[in-house]
Amino acid sequence: MFEGIGQELTEKLLADFRKCFDSELAEEFLQTLLTLMKVAFIVNHDYRRNIDTFNGRYQFCSEDGEVTIGVIFGNGRMKVVEDSIDAPHITVTFRDGRTLLNFIISPRQDILGSMLKHDVRTEGNLNYLYKFGFMAKQLQLMMPQVG
């Protein structure tokens, strides 16, 4: 799946990513996810096809103001900035790392449930969120399974 020099790093990141689901690293879920995503785009050709022609601007903010992260996709690349970005297609404001994890990904993706309970608020084009959710889900499916 992952080849060459990225393999070791990717496996470590996937392991960290998996720990997020065990709640010990839930608060760091977003940072872990974005780092893993970035590496996966570099080392995995199939995964990179997701952003070959994709332009998207995402703003993630925690409710307490502690986290403000912008993610920009363009020219087949992914850029992460720890700041506000201009004209995001979608802004996602979340209560904490755990609620964001539940919202975006798993064990049972609960986008609607999270929105109904107002654990997460969004502003903007939800289709960007759905695409992001797919890319995150793909990474989740690559995670090493616990035996």
Binding site: R49, N50, T53, F54, I104, R108, Q109, D110, I111, L112, G113, M115, L116, K117, H118, T122, E123, G124, N125, L126, N127, Y128, Y130, K131, G133, F134, A136, K137, Q138, L141
Partner: protein, 824 residues
């Protein structure tokens, strides 16, 4: 004079054993797992990417898009069904409509096939095509996002996206229509195309914008109908091919016959019952190429098809068994598709079918008994198949239809445990006439989707435009325009703190301020989305199957139909009425508690000893809707009246009125699950009552319950309602059917518009929840539509379990068993 000639209207000699084809098809139906069909998404995307011309009118662009899809749509025969054509490329398919919510599937493209609840199969290559080719094209092009960008992300849209105030259904569909097939059957699609061409020709040389728009519309009609004809030709070719390769001469003969049918109809007039049935089905397939599969209802098929049946019987070409086989085949075809429901939406919509409604019986346009032999054949087919879709409904005029008919419908309900639903002709015709419909048009009403009413082929009703959460308005009235779930955000107007109020009338006024504000938001968004639909989703194909558009030269989406209503339904009606009554009684009449006391306990979810005590009092000693309590009856009446007046003060973008209605699908469970405590003693998270049904356990006497609901019926509920009643099954079906029919008649005479039943006990449903494998085919009425119990989400199952159960023999409530109480 009755048209019924059958010796035995129950048609008991026809069984699944004597109709082996239906038995086989039914078994296959229940064994199929739904598959996602990407065919339409693929071809409409391809068309828009490579062939669309934005300089053309919306009608023309839509027609060309639909024709392109129909030209490329696969022609398949999955089984031994006698009717040719399928909604999708799969035997049981969930089509994707990227114009609406298809992209919600994106996050689970790789998991939807194996998800725990209601999996829908999707191949890896199709998932990849959706991810890389199809979905990216639609990123900013679906109805929701076009509305957002065109209207600068308006406040009403942001409110809708919070999901807890109202649902704007136009983001997902309009659909919800009953076309008329009479002209199509009489002249064939070629006749309709010829007519459109003549109208277009008449406009040639007229250069004003209006004439050009009309000419474009007629051109669009021709193009889109041609798409159906091409698809029928493809079906004929495929059937012919299958006939040549079939090993069994019987199979070969059947395929040859189907090829002949598809070459004759729908392009030409139908000459036999079989041709008429297949022509209608192929047109339904065409309709689903243009509009999403949500409540596209074939209507009064026992009336439309009767002349063909009668003629074939008279000429010896058809017998009752063959007619029933064809009807059964049509029912199974109508059930060949499901909605694509992302896992995330299961909470609100899990288990819902596509709700194509069939309407039987009642009176004709002349006001006389319209029940005929075909009505009973269709009832028997419904009874034998016992499948979720189509949603079969029985109209009943207690003065014109026979009591035998009422008893027979009752018997079918008892045997299927849930279908059909009963509709009162007197009350419903009155309701439609109150909306300005001509009497003969109102008499020709059919049911759409769950329960909504429309004059067949004359009213384009957009009947599920708004789903309003009444509990949201109540909470906003209690908390000064805020809801506990949305925190400190000021949502509605900042109304006074209720603890400062001196009378219930003042609180009622505040409630209305919040409710009206929400309704204004919902209507504003509906109008915005309506404008987007006019640009994105005209319906020239469907327009050709309506009365009005062809005469006016105007698409349905621009007001071409004879009647042009929009529907608004309401969630938590009974809970809100009971809360209002509890406040009036305990705070302002008895003065047992102050408003502050009540607010404090509502905020705290009735916790602690004081909270428990108050909750028990509110639950057990305040006036309840569904009883004879005067305060509850007054508040229910006032609510119905106010909502009617509020909606009727608006005219929609197609020039028609808004019709309030009361059905809830599964939203009463989903929205109840996330709502806070309410003043009638309901704790946070408990499901709301469904449709217009009283709160579970609140109405102990059946007669009082039916009377309390019935007195609300008539002109103020033009969109109709769903009343759910659960009866204990009895061993003697004949005696129970008799009592059942008497109850229906009394309820209808009191003004009740609709009622639907679950003939099952608390214990049976508890067992079905515990052991779904024992009840794979258990069908239940939810709120308007039917569902398989096993497919419903947990909250909805609990709601069905705890619904009030009545004994029909004594009309008394059956006490909840302890296990069910724990879920209540």
């Amino acid at each position: 004079m009755t048209a019924v000639t059958l010796d035995e209207i129950g048609l008991k000699e026809f069984t699944l054993e004597s109709l082996p084809r239906l038995k086989e098809l039914r078994t296959q139906y229940f064994s199929r797992q739904p598959e996602i069909c990407i065919e339409r998404a693929r071809y409409v995307t391809q068309y828009l990417r490579e062939h669309d011309d934005s300089a053309h009118s919306p009608e023309l662009r839509q027609a060309k898009k639909v024709e392109y899809f129909l030209r490329h749509k696969s022609a398949r025969f999955h089984d031994r069904n006698l009717i040719a054509g399928n909604t999708t490329s799969k035997a049981l398919g969930a089509p994707l409509f990227p114009e609406f919510f298809a992209l919600t599937l994106w996050p689970e493209l790789e998991t939807v096939s194996d998800r725990k609840k209601n999996p829908q199969k999707l191949t890896a290559s199709e998932a990849s095509e959706l991810n890389l080719e199809i979905f990216p094209f639609w990123m900013d092009k679906n109805v929701l996002e076009v509305t957002r960008s065109q209207f600068d992300n308006p406040e009403c849209l942001q409110l809708f996206e919070k999901l807890v105030f109202f649902i704007a259904a136009k983001a997902g569909c309009i659909s919800h229509a009953v076309p008329t097939y009479t002209s199509m059957l009489q002249y064939g699609l070629s006749g309709l195309i010829k007519k459109a061409a003549e109208y277009e020709e008449e406009l040639a040389g007229v250069t004003d914008a209006d004439a050009e728009q009309k000419a474009d519309f007629f051109r669009a009609v021709q193009i889109s109908l041609q798409g159906i004809i091409v698809h029928a030709e493809h079906l004929a070719e495929e059937a012919k091919e299958l006939a040549t390769v079939a090993d069994d001469p019987k199979d070969a003969a059947e395929f040859t016959a189907m090829a002949a049918v598809c070459r004759s109809v729908p392009v030409g007039p139908a000459t036999t019952f079989r041709e008429a049935v297949n022509a209608i089905w192929i047109c339904q397939v065409g309709i689903h190429a243009e509009n999403i599969n949500m409540a596209m209802s074939p209507g009064r098929l026992d009336q439309i098809l009767y002349p063909y049946y009668k003629q074939d019987i008279a000429e010896g070409r058809l017998d009752i068994g063959r007619a029933m086989e064809l009807v059964g085949c049509l029912w199974l075809k109508i059930a060949d598709n499901v909605t694509m429901v992302p896992e995330a939406s299961e909470e609100l919509f899990g288990g819902a079918g596509t709700v194509p409604a069939i309407t039987l019986g009642g009176v004709g346009k002349d006001g006389e008994d319209a029940v005929n032999d075909l009505t009973y054949i269709m009832l028997r087919a419904t009874e034998l198949l016992g499948i979720r879709d189509p949603n079969v409904n029985a109209r009943y005029d207690y003065e014109k239809n026979s009591q035998d008919y009422c008893r027979r419908v009752s018997e079918v309900i008892l045997n299927t445990k849930s279908v059909p639903a009963f509709f009162n002709d007197k009350a419903n015709i009155t309701a439609l006439c109150g909306q300005g419909e001509r009497l003969e048009h109102a008499r020709d009403y059919a049911v759409i989707g769950c329960v909504e009413l429309a004059s067949s082929g004359r009213d384009y009703p957009a009947s599920s435009s708004i789903m309003m959460n009444l509990a949201a308005a109540l909470e906003m009235a209690l908390f000064g325009g805020k809801r506990p779930i949305t925190g400190e955000e000021q949502i509605g107007p900042a109304t006074p703190d209720p603890s400062e109020l001196r009378s219930f009338e003042e609180f009622w006024k505040i409630f209305k301020i919040q409710l009206d504000w929400l309704i204004e938001q919902a209507i504003t968004l509906n109008e915005y989305m309506g404008a987007v639909h006019q640009e994105m989703m005209p319906s020239p194909l469907l327009s050709a199957l309506f009365i009005g558009p062809m005469d006016k030269g105007v698409d349905l989406i621009r007001g071409g139909a004879l009647y042009n209503s929009s529907g608004a339904t309401h969630i938590a009606f009974a809970d809100v009425v009971d809360s209002l009554s509890a406040i009036e009684q305990t705070v302002f009449i008895e003065k047992k508690y102050t408003f502050n006391d009540v607010l404090e306990q509502v905020r705290g979810n009735f916790s602690g000893q004081k909270g428990v005590k108050m909750r028990l009092y509110l639950k057990n000693h305040t006036p309840k809707y569904g009883t004879e309590a005067v305060i509850a009856r007054k508040n229910a009446h006032n609510m119905i009246q106010h909502l009617f007046e509020k909606y009727q003060s608006h005219t929609n973008y197609r020039g028609g009125p808004y019709h309030p209605s009361y059905w809830t699908m599964t939203n009463h469970a989903g929205l109840g699950g996330i709502s806070g405590a309410l003043p009638h003693g309901r704790k946070a998270g408990e499901v709301f009552s469904s449709g217009i049904t009283p709160v579970s356990g609140a109405a102990p006497e059946l007669t009082a319950c039916l009377n309390a609901v019935a007195e609300l019926g008539g002109e103020c509920v033009p969109g109709c309602w769903a009343l759910n009643i659960k009866y204990t099954p009895e061993s003697d079906v004949a005696i129970m059917a008799e009592r059942f029919a008497q109850t229906i008649e009394a309820y209808f005479r009191a003004g009740g518009q609709q009622v639907q039943f679950n003939i099952m006990t608390y214990e049976m449903l508890l067992d079905a929840k515990k052991h779904p494998e024992k009840y794979p085919e258990l069908m239940v009425r939810v709120s308007g539509y039917s569902a398989y119990f096993k497919d419903l989400n947990e909250m909805m199952k609990d709601e069905l379990i705890t619904r009030t159960q009545y004994g029909l023999d004594d009309g008394r409530v059956v006490p909840l068993p302890p296990e069910a109480k724990r879920r209540h």
